[in-house]
């Protein structure tokens, strides 16, 4: 079983190994100019491959995990944000309804309709005709009618 060698000790060994290095490169500029020309002659004969359209499975596997953090994080953030936003909107709607700010507007509609029933039937209640609307209003009024008032109406109509 290998034991971990302290890297600082090995660092000194590295420096000493380098000191014993005897590799020699040509120092002539002509040599490197010729090498450069040889390389460029080969490059001139070569076509650059087009950029890869898709990541190959090998590249996908070798891709660093951090590369997936940004798109995954973005999607998660959108999901969390939309969830929070929806819950907040729902809460606001409920509180506004309790305060009566979001009533179904029935009383207002009836008042407007009594002034111009033909407009109402054309715009808001397209499935109802004017007579249907008056029947609804009359039925609701009848349900809320007091006994005294009923007797009075029946008494007057009977004459």
């Amino acid at each position: 079983m290998d034991r971990k060698e302290p890297m600082d000790r090995l660092e000194k060994v590295r420096k000493n190994l380098r000191a014993a290095d005897d590799l020699e490169l040509p120092m002539s500029e002509d040599f490197f100019e010729r090498l450069h020309d040889k390389i460029m002659a080969g490059v001139e004969q070569t076509e650059m491959a087009p950029p890869p359209m898709l990541m190959t499975p090998r590249n996908l596997l070798r891709a660093h995990w951090r590369g997936w953090l940004y798109p995954a994080g973005g999607v998660m953030s959108l999901f969390v944000f939309s969830s929070l936003l929806l819950s907040q909107v729902s809460k606001v709607n409920q509180s506004m309804q309790r305060a009566g700010l979001l009533s179904d507007g029935h009383e207002r509609i009836v008042a407007e309709a009594l002034l111009s029933p033909e407009d109402l039937s054309r715009t808001l209640i397209s499935t109802q005709s004017e007579s249907d609307f008056f029947m609804d209003v009359a039925r609701e009024s009848f349900e809320n009618l007091s006994v005294a008032k009923f007797n009075k109406i029946m008494g007057e109509s009977g004459r």
Partner: protein
Amino acid sequence: MERDLILSDLELVEKVKSGDRRAFSELVKRHQRSVLRLSLRFVKDMDTAEDVTQEAFIKAYEKLNSFEGRSSFKSWLFQIAVNTARNKIREWKRDTVDIDDVQLAVGAEAETTLVHTAVADILQQEVEKLPFKQKTALVLRVYEDLSFNEIADIMECPYDTAKANYRHALMKLRQTFEQQAELKNWTEEVGGFFMEVNQRFAEAEG
């Protein structure tokens, strides 16, 4: 040309990608010495090293559109050079069975007595006997002064693997040093470099 000198490698790469081959010429001039030196450490023959260098640059040009800039251009180029040298060695494989075990073909002189061989030669021969991955990590770290992150990019392995290969290489060299009686004599003569190495490793072992 004066303007090219102030462009970074990545800027030159972008120019090459857009069709400017002269920018690639500048990249060749910047990196051909280091690539040649690296190739020579593996193939040991100047003509072959030139061929490896040329092939590495041609492959780099051909695949330049796949270079994404995650590592430095030099690291990416070195990666291609190391793989090209490795393939060249495989072509000449003589007494090896598996290139990853690396027993690189060693000349007959290595089989003879080493009494009169200089320590540097012994060192070089022992480095040649290292497994390819360990030798690569050692060469890149000791002789090219690269960081382990750069070595990991070149060797396409994790950081810890690159470091482990380097450490194992040094440990194998230490074992060789201890076995070479002449090396010990030499260390006594020159004032203790390898004695110090042996001592430090012995301390680490102990």
